[in-house]
């Protein structure tokens, strides 16, 4: 008798008592409900088109009405083949990844999907993990990135990682270190071009003015933010503030002339990494200088 057998035995007892609600009906209803929101077949990384279609309207609302996202230079994203979008990360929660994906999906003529590579802090979290996978995100690691690029997919990475998403408000729009250049090695190994991308507006959605990181530790979180609204307003404090966003894509940086062996050259990797970081920082600085208000652009 197994653990589930034990539960099933309890179920059988219930079954005998309540004839109106049979297990068959419960299972049927649960199954039908589940497949209204989930596909029966997902792709190799768990992308579930039906689930994605069910949740997208909410994010589209955020994109159009809440943050009034404007996309610039979308034509710089290649229409086909593997490519890496490299962007600044900010805003405590990974809203920026979702918005990049929407920008590419809705504003690019090829209607491409951008597979965001998610940080471990999100990709390993219960509830977040299946949600991210079903909406097309993939846990960030070199093997997954390479597999996606070799399949000709467009991927999005945030090389700042946790240092970016958890940065305090006073450091907003100052790019943190770009990891160890993993995205450059990925590009060199696969020959995929790098598209630098700057996101303005995401730093203001959850302005992090302090941290209680010890609270996050038992939950497996690398940081626990204090914002003007969180945790003071409880779950309501997680409602992102309606800043005005713009997303700009720069011209792709081609790396295929270096060949796959370039990935083993740390000097080349760090030079390319710095070049991309500089491009993103320049775009940020230029847009920030022109911005009059975080809320109205």
């Amino acid at each position: 008798m197994s653990a589930s057998g034990f539960v099933a035995a309890v179920g059988r007892a219930l079954d005998a008592g309540a004839s109106a609600m049979t297990w068959e009906k419960v299972a049927r209803a649960r199954g039908a409900g589940y497949f209204q929101r989930h596909s029966e077949d997902v792709d190799d990384f768990g992308f579930d088109p039906r689930f994605d279609a069910a949740v997208q309207p909410f994010f589209e609302l955020l994109y159009t009405l809440w943050w009034r996202v404007e996309a610039f230079g979308i034509e710089n994203v290649p229409a086909e083949g593997g490519a890496i979008i490299v962007a600044n990360h900010s805003g405590v929660l990974p809203w920026d990844g979702l918005m990049i994906n929407l920008a590419v999906r809705h504003e690019h003529p090829a209607r491409r999907q951008c597979r965001m590579l998610a940080l471990d802090m999100f990709a390993l979290l219960p509830f977040f993990a299946p949600f991210l996978a079903r909406t097309g995100a993939v846990r960030a690691n070199p093997e997954n990135g390479e597999r996606l690029l070799r399949r000709g997919e467009l991927i999005g990475v945030f090389p700042e990682g946790v240092r970016g998403v958890g940065k305090p408000y006073r450091d907003r729009y100052k790019l943190a270190r770009f990891g160890r250049g993993g995205f450059v090695r990925l590009a060199l190994r696969t020959g995929a071009p790098i598209v630098p991308c700057a996101i303005i507006g995401a730093e203001e959605v959850h302005p992090k003015i302090g941290g209680m990181d010890w609270v996050g530790k038992p939950l497996g979180l690398p940081f626990f933010p204090i914002t003007p609204t969180f945790p003071a307003l409880g779950p309501l404090g997680l409602v992102p503030l309606p800043s005005k966003w713009s997303i700009e894509f720069a011209e792709p940086v081609a790396v295929d002339q270096h060949g796959p062996d370039g990935a083993d050259d740390p000097i080349l990797v760090s030079r390319l990494s710095e070049q991309v970081r500089g491009t993103v920082q320049q775009m940020l600085d230029r847009r920030l200088a022109r911005r009059q208000s975080p809320w109205f652009g």
């Binding site: 653990a3 057998g5 649960r30 190799d44 471990d120 993939v138 690691n141 597999r147």
Partner: protein, 328 residues
């Protein structure tokens, strides 16, 4: 016999018995010898050498058997799919037993050795890449005897491959077998109506149709393959989708409760598997089938979903269609 016989162990196991039967059909009964405590089906007319791998003297008996039967190929399929309550028996069989069979085969001058292993030997971890290639270090949950013994079996095989290059060793890491005729602790989960799952987790799983498993085994024997190979279905399926397709009612359990509860039920004899197995329903351990495709020419003809549906049609001919009808 010029080519030498093929010895098959673990002939009472699902895969072992299938392999033996298929090889008898292909090469004739005289080309085979069953080495096992269990007797092969007399209708097969296969020679039988009774050896208990858990006996200390099994090495000698094996060597004698392999020499006398002029064995050129050993298929070692004696592995436990279900967790055993007798930890020392499982250890003697899977770790020491595999060591004994390897030693006897090397001493008898066997040219090709095929070991049945499991993708579970990679271990289910949150940090696993989506697909594990054969060069991935094996990191099973070491507190789980079931996985530890299999890891040791693989380690013995790797060490023999280094020391006795004359004996080619193929290690086949099979995904979870699922299909008509398969009865394991894992398939029994799908025989209940309500199935506990971990709240907030929904990993992709791989269910391998037994016909595909058999095909990979035969290809490895035929090609005298060397090295490790993942034998996996053509496509994975999310755990929850599999349960709902099967018309199950998942019961979400928070993971801090699930582990101690599962260990209590296992200790009380109410569960089929200890808490260590929960990891396999929490984190991914998907094998990448590319190497088997490239070197064995093996491509699974069934997806995980097809394997599941074949099982349900066979086991629960009426119940399996309920959700499909409800959706239509």
């Amino acid at each position: 016999m010029t080519a030498g016989r093929i010895a098959v162990t673990g002939i009472a196991s699902f895969l072992g018995s299938r392999v033996l039967r298929a090889l008898v059909e292909k090469r004739g009964a005289d080309a085979l010898v069953a080495v096992d405590v269990a007797r092969p089906d007399t209708a097969l007319g296969v020679r039988h050498r009774a050896v208990d791998f858990t006996e200390p003297s099994s090495g000698e008996q094996l060597l004698e058997a392999l020499r006398e039967e002029k064995v050129a190929t050993v298929i070692h399929a004696a592995a436990l799919t279900n967790p055993s309550r007798d930890g020392s028996f499982a250890h003697e069989l899977e770790s020491i037993g595999t060591l004994n069979v390897l030693a006897a085969a090397a001493a008898a001058g066997v040219g090709h050795f095929v070991l049945r292993s499991f993708t579970a030997v990679y271990g289910a971890h949150g940090r696993n890449p989506a697909y594990l290639t054969e060069d991935r270090p094996l990191q099973p949950n070491l507190s789980l005897g079931w996985a530890r013994d299999k890891l040791e079996g693989e380690q013995h095989a790797a060490s023999f491959a280094r020391r006795y290059p004359a004996m080619k060793i193929a290690v086949l890491r099979f995904a979870t077998l699922f299909g008509p005729g398969v009865r394991t602790f894992y398939t029994s989960i799908f025989d209940h109506r309500m199935v506990p799952v971990l709240m907030g987790y929904d990993p992709l799983i791989q269910l391998l149709h037994p016909d595909d498993g058999l095909g990979a085994f035969l290809a490895a024997v035929e090609l005298r393959a060397e090295g490790a190979f993942n034998v996996v279905p053509s496509r994975p399926i999310p755990l929850l989708a599999a349960l709902h397709l099967a018309g199950k009612v998942p019961l979400p359990v928070p993971h801090p409760i699930a582990y101690p509860a599962a260990d209590l039920l296992w200790a009380a004899g109410l569960a089929d598997a200890p808490a260590g197995f929960i990891d396999f329903a929490r984190y991914p351990f998907l094998g990448d089938g590319e190497k088997a495709r490239r070197e064995l020419g093996f491509t699974a003809r069934h997806s995980s979903r097809q394997a599941l549906e074949a099982y349900l049609r066979d086991r629960h001919p009426k119940a399996s269609m309920t959700t499909a009808e409800a959706r239509a």
